[in-house]
């Protein structure tokens, strides 16, 4: 084993296991490989800076900011009211309401844990009040949050688009059908589980007196937002990056002028959250560029392709192996970090098997959705268990049927590429 592999296979995992910030681990590995291969270290900082000098990255802090402004601006309540009105009269349907509300909020926020926090904060106490077991309430909310990264706009998809050199607009379109399909599967499972739980669940009596049309009209500004973002991108009015800043301006106008709930303090909090999370993610992206450059110069992806070539020639088997690996890694690594670290290695591998990188992007996202729900990291589980005030372990057990459903969804996306490829191809042909 040469020095480069020693650094990648021993030093890098060691730094991660020690709990160092991921950007520090990536940076140290990049610097170490540069050092042992006699590459000038002064180029390392240039790589870090170049890593940030990609226009598409500007969309990520903007979408995070837009999601935060909408959450603080009171848009969530209106979305939930519509689904409660549509399904709430059926006993056992609040899980279904939660999944659909999460699906819609996901089309605004782009973040998994953000979706759990926004929808779960209203739906978990409501479900407990109507007799649903607290573990069920927490698990269904945590599961709904996974849709946040799949349904566009999705921050992991933006990162993947940059790494794989795939159109972000195409990726957003590709995520749409699998996202809705996954939401429907999860909603069915949520309803069946509620009915089989044995708990006595009452119908929702807090439904609004107004007709559903009036509720839809009241929520028109919230409902129009996904149409505004995606419609603007696909009609060519703006690019995905410009869509993200238009979403910020739209959210600001609606929160201040229509909902009138956004105070100066909550706006500052929204900016602080965006700065903290955006900064934490972007410095990982910056340092990963150094990491990716060094492993590319050392031809590591080509070695991985060769190694896999010796194992199997089947594209499906390779995809299944990658998914198994991603599920394992995703249990202890944050989603975007996993995409950033593994993307430069996996994309050349899947391309060598003739797999469309657009299709692989969606498989990657569906797979890491599962990681959102698996301990020990499982961020969505932590958020949901805190809101429901129950032990993390109990939610981790209650989530298993949903994890199984997501695995089924992952397999459907793997075996039927047209599910993800149909919409982007249709949109491209219409242009």
């Amino acid at each position: 084993m040469n020095d480069v592999y020693l650094i990648l296979l021993v030093l890098f995992p060691l730094l991660l296991v020690l709990g160092l910030p991921i950007y520090v681990a990536l940076g140290i590995v990049g610097l170490s490989i540069s050092y042992v291969t006699d590459a000038p270290l002064v180029f390392a900082t240039q790589n870090v800076l170049n890593g940030l000098d990609k226009f598409a990255l500007l969309a990520i802090p903007s979408f995070i900011l837009a999601g935060n402004i909408m959450e603080k601006g009171g848009i969530t309540g209106d979305i939930i009211n519509i689904f409660r009105h549509a399904f709430g009269h059926i006993a056992g349907s609040l899980g279904l309401v939660t999944i659909f509300a999460c699906m819609f909020f996901a089309a605004i926020s782009g973040s998994g844990p953000g979706t759990v926090a926004a929808i779960g904060a209203i739906m978990i106490p409501a479900m407990i009040k109507y007799g649903y077991p607290p573990t069920y309430a927490a698990s269904v909310s945590a599961t709904g949050g996974t849709l946040g990264v799949m349904i566009p706009p999705s921050n992991p998809l933006i990162i993947y688009g940059i790494i794989a050199n795939v159109s972000i607009a195409d990726l957003f379109a590709a995520g749409m059908v699998p996202g809705i399909m996954t939401a429907l599967l999860l909603a069915i499972v949520a309803y069946i589980l509620a009915r089989r739980s044995g708990a006595v669940m009452k119908a929702d009596t807090e439904r609004s007196e107004h007709s559903i049309w009036r509720l839809i009209w009241k929520a028109k500004f919230a409902l129009f937002l996904p149409v505004f973002i995606l419609g603007g991108i696909y009609s060519g009015i703006f690019t995905p990056v410009e869509a993200s800043v238009c979403a910020v301006v739209y959210a600001l106008i609606v929160s201040v002028l229509v909902y009138r709930q956004l105070t100066w303090k909550s706006l500052t909090e929204a900016f602080e959250n965006a700065v903290k999370l955006g900064g934490a993610l972007m410095i990982i992206v910056a340092c990963s560029t150094l990491f990716a450059t060094t492993i590319t110069l050392q031809r590591i992806p080509q070695d991985v392709v060769q190694a896999f070539g010796g194992v199997t020639e089947s594209a499906i088997v390779v995809l299944l192996l990658i998914c198994a690996l991603l599920i394992v890694i995703g249990t202890f690594m944050e989603t975007i970090s996993a995409v950033i670290i593994l993307g430069p290695i996996l994309v050349p591998l899947v391309k060598s098997y003739g797999i469309d990188p657009l299709h692989f992007g969606i498989i990657l996202i569906v797979t890491i959705e599962i990681a959102f729900l698996t301990p020990p990291l499982g961020v969505n589980l932590f958020v949901a268990s805190q809101i429901a005030n129950i032990k993390f372990e109990k939610v981790a057990l209650a989530i298993l049927p949903f994890v199984f459903t997501l695995i089924v969804s992952m397999l459907i996306v793997i075996f039927f590429p047209s599910i993800s490829l149909w919409l982007p191809e249709t949109i491209r042909s219409m242009r």
Binding site: L18, Y23, V24, A44, T45, L49, V275, G279, A280
Partner: protein, 157 residues
């Protein structure tokens, strides 16, 4: 002192983010109205890059950086927090030191051999300055943490 620095860093990062959003929004508006504004993309990009390094320093202050804590939490249970935190701090200190040295070198070289942006006419090598300043703050924060760990034995939250 810490509170003042924290508010200062947050203020600058928020300004950078707001500037980025404003300039890109102006880009959309100007295109629709056919105004000749060609500097918005560059301004947005430069504001974003500067914001990231300031936000990284702010994140260090708030201990909000992403890391894999599952195993280190187990090690803390086994060995106590002090040795693990000293190890983290010392390694990050070394990394920040290297980044300061090389980004400063790039900044100085960049002043001699400028890389001028086409629209604004801005020397893009100046962007090594916010990188250098960000890592200087990270270095100083970790230096303070290291001295606290050695003298007091634990970090304040």
């Amino acid at each position: 002192m810490r509170t003042i620095l924290s508010k200062f860093l947050l203020g600058i990062a928020m300004f950078g983010l707001a500037l980025m959003v404003a300039s890109l929004f102006l880009q959309v508006i100007s295109r629709e109205f056919r105004w000749a504004v060609d500097w918005t993309e560059e301004l947005g990009r430069f504001a974003f890059i500067s914001m990231v390094f300031v936000a990284t320093a702010y994140g260090t202050m708030k201990r909000s950086h992403l890391s894999v804590t599952v195993f280190s939490d187990l090690m803390i249970l086994r060995f106590g927090p002090r040795p693990i935190h000293i190890l983290h701090t010392a390694i990050t200190l070394g990394f920040a030191g290297l980044m300061i040295y090389f980004s400063a070198q790039n900044f100085v070289d960049g002043l001699r051999y400028p890389n001028i942006s086409p629209a604004i006419g801005f020397n893009q090598n100046i962007l090594f300055l916010p990188m250098c300043i960000g890592f200087i703050i990270i270095f100083l924060l970790h230096l303070r943490d290291l001295s606290t760990l050695i003298l007091k034995g634990s970090l304040d939250e």
